[in-house]
């Protein structure tokens, strides 16, 4: 079973306690009522879906209940790091990918 480090519980917990919650660091436009349909579509529907390192929201739904962010490699399924909501997107070059 995959173990995921919850930054609020401050330890690794089994994946069964977690739920995936989509791509991270997507800012809702502040003028959302004014933007064009194309811009809204890009914000609302279009996701990066990369092969390799991706940044995602996860929720420790059967644990502390908190949302947090994670950097995960979609090829190896390895969690590179997790961090609390509000913390900046980490620099990819500084993440240990081993």
């Amino acid at each position: 079973m995959l173990l995921i480090h919850c930054p609020y519980c401050e330890e690794e917990r089994p994946e069964l306690e977690f739920r995936h919650a989509g791509e991270a660091h997507i800012a809702r436009p502040e003028n959302i009522a004014e933007i064009a349909d194309e811009a809204f579509q890009r914000y609302f529907f279009i996701r990066a879906n990369p092969k390799g390192v991706t940044f995602e929201r996860w929720r420790h739904i059967h644990g502390c209940g908190r949302f947090f962010n994670a950097a995960r490699d979609t090829v190896s399924d390895r969690f590179l790091m997790t961090y609390r909501v509000g913390e900046p997107k980490p620099d990819l070059r500084k993440i240990d990918r081993k």
């Binding site: 079973m1 609020y8 519980c9 330890e11 089994p14 069964l16 306690e17 059967h62 502390c64 209940g65």
Partner: protein, 180 residues
């Protein structure tokens, strides 16, 4: 003639005892789902007569009352003598949410030298004493049901689960217990 309704617990009459394991439904208790920011904790602790724990996976217990850390701003408060916990918090003016969930949950005591193994049949957490010591408490899963697990002794755990899940949780525990 008027009929009198009798209140029955969700696990009325259920119990299991086998070599090294006992499963016992716990008598009714009062329970509170408490949400509060850090600034309110001292006032709430005073009202409840119990210091709300602020470390993950911990609990504070005093007499019949206990507070289990569930999340950074969330606690499960249990009183085995059925004290009105929500009323105790009502006098606190500091920001908080206190919801009485006494009848939502029911408790099962899992005791005996095989307690850890039997729980391991459905709970994916590492329950060895180094990772889940006496006094540790955590929301987690047991099979397909969400539970709150609290280690009350070296060989004793208390499971808190929703009463609608309790039949499933008890049956799965019993199945694991029978597989010696």
């Amino acid at each position: 003639m008027a009929e009198i309704a009798r209140r029955m617990s969700a696990l009325e009459g259920r119990a299991y005892e086998g070599p090294g394991i006992a499963l016992t439904p716990d008598p009714p208790a009062s329970r509170l789902s408490l949400r509060a920011p850090e600034a309110s904790l001292s006032a709430l602790s005073k009202a409840l007569g119990l210091t709300l724990p602020d470390k993950p996976k911990t609990a504070a217990a005093d007499g019949s009352r206990a507070a289990l850390w569930l999340g950074p701003d969330e606690w499960l408060v249990i009183d085995e003598e059925c004290a009105d916990l929500a009323a105790l918090c009502a006098s606190v003016s500091a920001l908080h949410s206190a919801v009485d969930i006494s009848h939502r949950n029911t408790a099962i005591l899992v005791t005996g030298e095989r307690a850890e193994d039997v729980l391991g049949a459905g709970c994916p957490q590492d329950l060895s004493p180094t990772r889940f010591p006496v006094g540790a408490a955590s929301r987690t899963v047991f099979g397909k049901a969400e539970i709150v697990l609290w280690r009350i002794g070296e060989e004793a755990f208390r499971i808190e689960c929703w009463r609608s899940f309790s039949d499933y949780v008890f049956s799965l525990l019993e199945k694991a217990a029978r597989e010696a």
